[in-house]
């Protein structure tokens, strides 16, 4: 097993251990830590460091890929330094022991404790980096980064300083939204109750208060970020400054759509579906609008001739010849997963407290799978006994972590399901289990192992033997897989690592899919047999 993979597994084990022993929520809000270390500038400083790290890594990946490859090669060839690993583990052990004492009710209240905790944290980080690669290799990487660090530091600092400035825009933006929503509703609702002092718009049956947060500024901020990154990544294709129009057009569209969202919310609530309006549509519609505007602009911007350097050719018939269209390999691997995500958003927006439209995911995934059927038929779907065996190992780890982190997973079935007619109840349960056991493993393994694990190794992912995928790619794809599992991100990451190892072993995606399906089948069985409904 490569040295870097072993170290990565050690770091993953540390993450598990610290998650089990230290309550992050309590730690951050610990008065001792706030008073002695964080103070007034502590949180902005942490925000700066996080922004700096994220931007630095992203810029290095985008602008200094060769330097990263050299670093990986040098690091994997350098021998392990047992003393550094031992020092790292010792400091980590001390950090674990100290953490809970900072927020324990009867814990020591010495002012030196938080300072020692922060110093230990820095020590753990640096000895971990030293265990990963010798200092000289890190210095070589820093040298080859050139001005990348400065490019990351300036926007990270500005991000922290400017974030408060957004607050001043809240009031005018919410006032404009309040007015716009009234205009939109008047043709449909004759007797509107308008209360400007409370920013409330209502009818006799339903009402909304447009708070400053409802003005859509956060979505607009995200759109600026997304739009500028899109322009930057595709800068060779666009004509500047023309293409910058992309940003204001998107902002105006999103601002108007936010008012449409609130007006639609009023109409849905007024029609009697208060539960759907307040619990489903309210939050999902914001993301649907954001994704729609962002993706729509990407789609349209490439087709507006005065925005691009070379206008795209029509699909076929260039100079009278038929050009066969190549298969979009990325769509083949990501399509089913994206279809499930989109169907999930739609299902949640159209239902209230309980997601009755969950089966929409099956229809969406099946439609994509059917449209690329010849490509899927051509893939290697062979599998071995290691697939189901690995799936059971993941299930055991998943349950163990559930008990350790959240306690007993037993719980009552959702009340909507309990009180539903038996046919409706069992149809929903069958659809939920079918999605978890068949559709999700197929879609997620195609996306995270078939695509992401290989794509993070090389851009020509279609021709890469999975066994040659890098440790960094394995770590990155597994962490992203874990993040998709929300609160269970740690268990998800570990599951991702195991599925990746199965895939890498013989290059058979069938093993990873079967492992994933086995895990999900065992979870479904635990839900139905033992009543562990919290797992669903």
């Amino acid at each position: 097993m490569p040295r870097l993979l072993i170290l990565f597994l050690v770091f993953a084990a540390e993450l598990v251990a610290i998650s089990l022993s230290v309550d992050g929520q309590n730690l951050v809000s610990s008065p001792l830590l706030t008073a002695q270390v964080l103070g007034v500038w502590g949180m902005p400083a942490i925000r700066f460091l996080v922004s700096f790290a994220v931007m630095g890594c992203a810029l290095m990946y985008l602008m200094r890929r060769e330097a990263l490859n050299t670093f990986r090669r040098d690091a994997s060839q350098s021998p392990t330094q047992p003393r550094r690993v031992l020092l790292h583990l010792t400091l980590f052990g001390a950090l674990m022991l100290l953490g809970p004492r900072l927020y324990a009710v009867n814990g020591a209240k010495s002012a030196a404790l938080p300072v020692a905790f922060v110093l230990l944290g820095i020590g753990v980080l640096f000895t971990g980096l030293a265990a990963l690669a010798p200092v000289r290799i890190w210095l070589r990487l820093a040298k080859s980064a050139g001005a990348t660090w400065l490019y990351a530091a300036i926007p990270a600092l500005a991000t922290v300083l400017l974030s408060a400035a957004w607050r001043s825009l809240w009031k005018p933006a919410s006032l404009a939204t309040f007015t716009l929503v009234q205009w939109m509703l008047r043709p449909f609702l004759g007797h509107l109750i308008i209360q400007p002092d409370r920013m409330r718009i209502a009818t006799a049956r339903f009402g909304v208060i447009i708070s400053p947060q409802c003005s859509g500024l956060e979505g607009m901020g995200l759109l600026i970020l997304f739009g500028s990154l899109w322009l930057w990544l595709n800068r060779k294709e666009f004509r500047f400054p023309h293409a910058l129009l992309f940003i204001p057009v998107g902002l105006v569209t999103l601002f108007v759509l936010n008012s449409v969202r609130i007006a639609a919310l009023m109409l849905i609530g007024n029609a009697g579906a208060r539960d759907i309006a307040a619990n489903g549509f309210h939050s999902q519609a914001g993301w649907i609008a954001f994704n729609g505007v962002a993706f729509g602009l990407c789609l349209v911007s490439g087709r507006v001739s005065w925005m691009v350097r070379t206008a795209q050719q029509p699909d076929q018939a260039i100079a009278g010849t038929q050009v066969p269209e190549l298969v979009n390999n990325v769509a083949v691997y990501l399509g089913p997963f994206l279809a499930i995500l989109a169907a999930g958003m739609l299902a949640r927006s159209l239902t209230g407290g309980f997601e009755w439209l969950y089966p929409l995911r099956i229809a969406a995934a099946a439609a994509v799978l059917f449209s690329y059927l010849p490509e899927y038929r051509a893939m290697n779907w062979t599998w071995t006994w290691r697939g189901p065996a690995g799936g059971l190992v993941v299930f055991a780890a998943w349950i163990a972590m559930e008990f350790a982190l959240s306690g007993q997973p037993a719980g009552a079935a959702p009340s909507a399901l309990q009180f539903a007619a038996p046919t409706a109840r069992w149809t929903w349960i069958a659809a939920r289990a079918f999605t978890a056991i068949l559709a999700v493993p197929l879609a997620e393994e195609l996306a995270f192992r078939g695509y992401l694990l290989r794509r993070l190794t090389t851009s020509d992912f279609g021709h890469l033997n999975p066994a040659r995928s890098t440790v960094l790619a394995l770590a990155g794809s597994s962490v992203l897989f874990g993040v998709m599992h929300g609160e269970r991100w740690l268990a998800g990451t570990l599951a991702g690592i195991l599925y990746s190892l199965l895939y890498r072993r013989k290059g058979q995606l069938g093993d990873a899919i079967l492992a994933h399906a086995t895990t999900n089948a065992a979870i479904a069985a635990a839900v139905l047999l033992f009543g562990w409904w919290k797992l669903w």
Partner: protein, 54 residues
């Protein structure tokens, strides 16, 4: 010039995003954020690949 404007836009967008992290806003609901961002990122990757295959 264009590079500076783009950098400024990235900063402005990041600032709004960092600010959004401090507030509770239903339409930017954090529990749906992961799925929504994954969906957009995936869709953009598919779009970029589609342009290359033509």
């Amino acid at each position: 010039m264009v590079r500076s404007i783009t950098l400024a836009l990235v900063v402005l967008g990041s600032a709004a995003f960092a600010f959004a992290g401090n507030i509770s806003s239903p339409e930017i609901d954090a529990t749906s954020a992961t799925g929504a961002v994954a969906l957009l990122s995936g869709a953009v990757l598919v779009l970029r690949a589609r342009r290359r295959t033509r």
